[in-house]
Amino acid sequence: MQSGLGVKAARVAIVVALFAIWEILSRTGIVNPRLLPSASDTLATLGDLLQRASVRKDLAVTATEVVTAFALAVPVGALIGFLIAENRYFAEVAKPLLFFAFSIPKSIFLPMFILVFGVGFSQKVGFGFFSTIFIVIMSTTTAVESVKVEHLTVARSYGATPMQTAFRVYLPSMLPVLLEALRISMIFNLTGVILAEMYASRDGIGHQIATWGENFQMKQLLAGVVMIAAIAIAFNELVRWVEARCSHWRT
């Protein structure tokens, strides 16, 4: 496992290098520091922001919305994706329609969500769900298609029920594709919720970020972006950890 350590070190090095470049670009004025405040300033601002009770509350609100939307969108999307992949009829009916829905910028529908849900928790969750589910469906469909026929035949010969086939054959063999999908979905989900917050809200971090952007508060804006990216990255790493535990059989 010393190679694992090397990889970790390399990763840390890359991150440090990125921050260093950012710092240098800003400090030397290669990029106008008003437009790109230095990394250290941004991080300091981030520290300040995290001290504020209001920011912490906003983060908590956003996190709750994101997690709820995600917890709803992934199982539902995976189920629909699975049905589409496994059932020609359903696929023929639904696939093109879902694809069209996927190709439309979701933000066009933000007012509809306000129309249906009002402004609040359910509207954010609803829009987060809506932003996420299509990518989950589409990725699940692909993942299913990567399962080997022989493995399905074996399971069939042992009389596996659909549920057993799903959990014991599909799930493990789709895992790499599925986890990747999970990561991307999470990002769509986060972006969806933040867009909804930027659009209309009483609290949430997206709302703050919109304001910082409009008022040219670059330090706060960047700090906010770093904050959100950090959350997404933390989630990424969580998924990766799961992945590492599950797919050590792959060479």
């Binding site: 493995h151 010969s157 042992y158 009389g159 029920t161 014991r168 059989w249 060479t251």
Partner: protein
């Protein structure tokens, strides 16, 4: 639920004993991109319960196809197949178990877990499962390899795990497609003897595909010889050698003449 008057009938109908196989005028036509392939043509076959039947025939004569149909994994184009008296439109592990020609182990499971797989599907408890898997692995000489993943095993080892997975299910009918092909002669013999032992002890019906004619005669009650294009049964031999079989029999005349008879068929059609 309402028609309770109908129920007694099922008890009256004469039940085929568990393990009987009936193949009647079965045909299988594959549609390919270029042309239609008649893989099997009008094959009929009766296997009595508890018999050890070996299927031989040149490459591509339809042995695997026939086995897949008996297992309910593929539907015949014409004719009927019944297992224990009932057709088999879907695989039914309570009636039939299969050992596939290609090992097809699940790469994400260890050897042990692969063997446990069919048991896990039936909801058998973890401990029970583990114990039975251990036993089956021991049987195929893979004691101590349980924790390895398939990609860490040699070709012959994978095949043996796959045999263990077939054995652990304990179905009345066992279909085995060239299970010993990747094994060395010594292991092959030991495994053959093990199989005969299990078969004798449990009274299973076994249908066994092999390319080794010696193995065929050594193991079988009956040998069925097939020829290709289209797949047909060209001979059906009874092996009158007494049981238990011994390696000395291999040099006997009875053995030699049976082997020769099969050999001539194969020679002609290959």
């Amino acid at each position: 639920m309402g028609g309770s008057t109908m129920q007694p009938l099922a008890n009256i109908a004469p039940l085929k004993p568990a393990g009987a196989i009936e193949v009647r005028n079965v045909g299988q036509v594959f549609k390919t991109t270029t042309q239609d392939v008649v893989a099997l043509d009008n094959v009929s076959l009766d296997v009595k319960p508890g018999r050890f039947v070996v299927l031989v025939g040149p490459s591509g004569c339809g042995k695997s196809t026939l086995l897949m149909m008996m297992a309910g994994l593929r539907q015949q184009t014409s004719g009927t197949i019944t297992i224990s008296g009932a057709p088999i439109p879907e695989p039914d592990p309570n009636r039939v178990g299969v050992v596939f020609q290609e090992a097809s182990l699940f790469p994400w499971l260890t050897a042990e877990e692969n063997v446990e797989f069919p048991l896990a599907l039936r909801g058998i408890s973890k401990n029970d499962r583990r114990a039975r898997a251990q036993e089956a692995l021991k049987l195929v000489g893979l004691d101590g390899f349980g924790k390895r993943h398939p990609h860490e095993l040699s070709g012959g080892m994978k095949q043996r795990v796959s045999i263990a997975r077939g054995l652990v299910q304990d179905p009345p009918v066992l279909l085995m497609d060239e299970p010993f092909a990747a094994l060395d002669e010594q292991t092959r013999m030991t495994m053959g003897d093990e199989l005969l032992r299990i078969w004798a002890a449990t009274g299973k019906t076994v249908v066994f595909v092999t390319h080794s004619l010696t193995e065929a005669v050594y193991l079988a009650d009956e040998v069925i010889v097939m020829s290709p294009r289209p797949g047909r049964i060209v001979d059906h031999l009874q092996v009158p050698l007494p049981r238990p079989r011994t390696y000395e029999m291999l040099s006997g005349d009875a053995f030699g003449s049976l082997r020769d008879r099969i050999w001539r068929h194969i020679r002609k059609s290959a």
